[in-house]
């Protein structure tokens, strides 16, 4: 990497010492083909035009930017009135309003167009919460591709409605019973399928992890999030935000929004990982506070692992953040000190989830609620530390609201005890697919 290169344009296979291609030789030809095809497409105006048309007419881009003042009041806390602090503004980048309900569609449409260019006819995908599986099933329906989605059996229970959605869209959903029966095992199974069927199958990897070129390519398909948000917030507030916050599972929504601000020194970047039941309990998915560099699923990155290098199971109330590794670009930004990563517990995330529902009428995905909880923390920290925007303006936080929470209603109902006595357990079991 040359010193003059913008951070936003750093490309694979390595981000600093992270990334690479730690996969079986059988997959290398397909990865090379993908890299070549992606490079060709990236230089082809027709590809960009077609993707832009889909974003506009199908996904509903640009997604809006929504200021949430009633929510932000809780980030200011009690000290606001007593001190001279100008307060905290929180603005949400509404990826939850995309078709299929999350940012995942950005990447999937880009990869599906590549699949057509490569002449392959079958796509496979892994999914945790089901968001990426739904997005892939959607694109496959749109573009007439055979689609198989691997999903940990545990996750098919937690996200039964998304399983039904994928099947409605014509995809085959395969519950994975190996290992911990969650996202990492779904990826293992997808990789086994890919090794077997690579000659006519493309693996639509759902995040900025995996072997090169996936981390770079998936970032490119999501950079539109940050590019739109940067223009929108400049127009709305007249300046860049003081901080950008996002949740980090594999890290695609975070990298998508961070990327446009990587070279803006005045903008702090915060990624919020799943702290689960607390990092001290060992039941979490906080790779930066509880992991160490290692190799999983084709890339070297921070990883939850034991002293023998065996992957340690992750834990989170949110299936989409329940992953033991993280995209290599995040490990690079972490070690560079360009972005900060902090854990948010299940309980903090669920409190922020309910707060956004109550104050703004927006039901966020539980994944995104980790970023909301992080924003509350950052706001309170700024007020306590007397930090403001330039010229005494309010401290401004841009949050990527990466997905909507329809899929999480059953989990929330159970968490908060929202159903009437008697019907509660039976109804919840039906909703969660355990009936």
């Amino acid at each position: 990497m040359s010193l003059a290169e913008r951070l936003a344009d750093v490309s694979g296979p390595y981000f600093g010492e992270f990334g690479g291609r730690f996969v079986p030789e059988a997959l290398i030809a397909a990865l090379d083909e993908l890299e070549t095809e992606y490079a060709k497409a990236a230089g082809d105006p027709a590809f960009a035009d077609e993707l832009a048309r889909l974003h506009r007419e199908y996904t509903g881009r640009p997604s809006p930017l929504t200021e949430v003042a009633r929510f932000a009041a809780h980030a200011t806390g009690d000290t606001e009135r007593s001190g001279s602090h100008p307060g905290v503004r929180v603005l949400l980048k509404r990826e939850d309003l995309n078709h299929t309900g999350s940012h995942k569609i950005n990447n999937v449409l880009g990869q599906a167009l590549l699949v057509k260019r490569m002449g392959k006819r079958r796509v496979i995908a892994e999914t945790g919460a089901g968001q990426h599986g739904v997005a892939t099933a959607t694109a496959a329906a749109l573009m007439d591709l055979e689609c198989v989605v691997y999903m940990g059996e545990e996750d098919t229970r937690r996200q039964a409605l998304n399983v039904a959605r994928m099947r409605l869209l014509g995809a085959e959903v395969v519950p994975v019973t190996a290992g911990t029966r969650t996202l990492k095992d779904a990826i293992n199974e997808a990789l086994r399928d890919w090794v077997t069927n690579v000659e006519h199958t493309h693996y639509v990897l759902g995040t900025v992890t995996g072997p090169h070129p996936f981390p770079e390519m998936v970032r490119q398909f999501h950079r539109i999030i940050g590019e739109e948000a940067r223009g929108q917030i400049l127009e709305r507030t007249g300046r860049l935000p003081d901080v950008v916050a996002a949740c980090v599972g594999g890290g695609s929504n975070a990298l998508g929004i961070f990327n446009a601000f990587l070279d803006d020194e005045g903008v702090a970047l915060y990624g919020f990982e799943a702290g689960g039941e607390g990092v001290e309990t060992g039941r979490h998915a906080a790779r930066f506070s509880g992991g160490a560099p290692g190799v999983l699923h084709g890339a070297r990155s921070y990883l939850l692992q034991d002293e023998d290098g065996q992957t340690r199971p992750s834990h989170s109330v949110s299936a989409g953040l329940d992953y033991p590794s993280v995209g290599p670009a995040h490990s690079w930004l972490h070690d560079l000190g360009r972005a900060e990563y902090e854990p948010v517990t299940d309980a903090e995330a669920m409190d922020a989830f309910r707060l956004l529902c109550h104050t703004e009428g927006i039901i966020p995905a539980i994944e995104s609620a980790h970023a909301l909880a992080g924003a509350l923390r950052l706001g309170r920290r700024a007020v306590a530390g007397g930090r403001t925007g330039p010229d005494g303006e309010p401290y401004t936080i841009l949050v990527n609201l990466s997905g909507r929470g329809d899929k999480d209603v059953a989990t929330a109902a159970r968490w908060f005890g929202l159903l009437d006595e008697g019907v509660a357990s039976e109804e919840l079991e039906k909703m969660e697919g355990r009936g």
Binding site: E17, G20, I28, A178, G179, D185, T196, L303, G309, Q310
Partner: protein
Amino acid sequence: MAATSSTTGPGTTAEPGGVRATAPRAGELIARLRTEENRPALVGYLPVGFPDVERSIEALLTLTDNGVDIVELGIPYSDPVMDGLVIQQAAQAALDAGVRVAHVFEAVRRIREHAPHVAVLPMTYWNPVLRYGVADFARDLAAAGGSGLITPDLIPDEAAAWIAASDEHDLDRVFLVAPSSTPRRLALTAQASRGFVYAASLMGVTGERASVGDRAEQLVSDTRTAGAQNVCVGIGVSTGAQAAQVGRWADGVIVGSALVRPLLGDDPWDVRLRNLAEVTRDLASGVRSARAAHGAH
């Protein structure tokens, strides 16, 4: 940016030399079998630690007692993406029973004491070695009498640290090729490998198949053309008849799932060992009959 070393501190100290002094190199062993016995090598896989460390060593010695020339000693790993159900099941059971990476060195030592003529190459996914420290792992493997490593998810492009460590400790390094490998990658892999090249007979994960992939023979031929001295064929080879068929044109026949399968199930352990011995002998007679009526390739 800071490039930090991935090596850990000094691990278990081991006596240099020892059994290592006589550890056969896989390449020399294969060459000797070719010239003296006109047959391919039989490479047999079992994971250490299944069903527990002690019994896994008994099973490994059963392989060497019944005609296996090279032991591919599996290190159980939590995320084995190149393995099918049979090996996944055994590896997971080994992990559940508490196997540790360091047990592999004990198993290597015990096999080498029992069968000094046999070459032992651990098969490992890369993260356990990274975590142990690549240089430390190479040192301890050499000290235990291991001949080298088979690395299914490490391609030569990512293997600089392993190539340096295996050179320093004079270890074999077995990389894989697949039917999808381009001529350029066959050449790269053949050049980086030492001992033999592992040719995947078909596109897929480990497991028994009704027939060996029809692209395997061409792949072996292409890999030789690309510069490899020895090419062994694995994935999907499970019977003596298949071993005989593959052995006509391959330098070694690699069998995994078919050897693990007899060890699964609830039969008494001695019954399972007898079944393993029987499968091994069938494969051993397969490689011995491979070229009887065909002459050397």
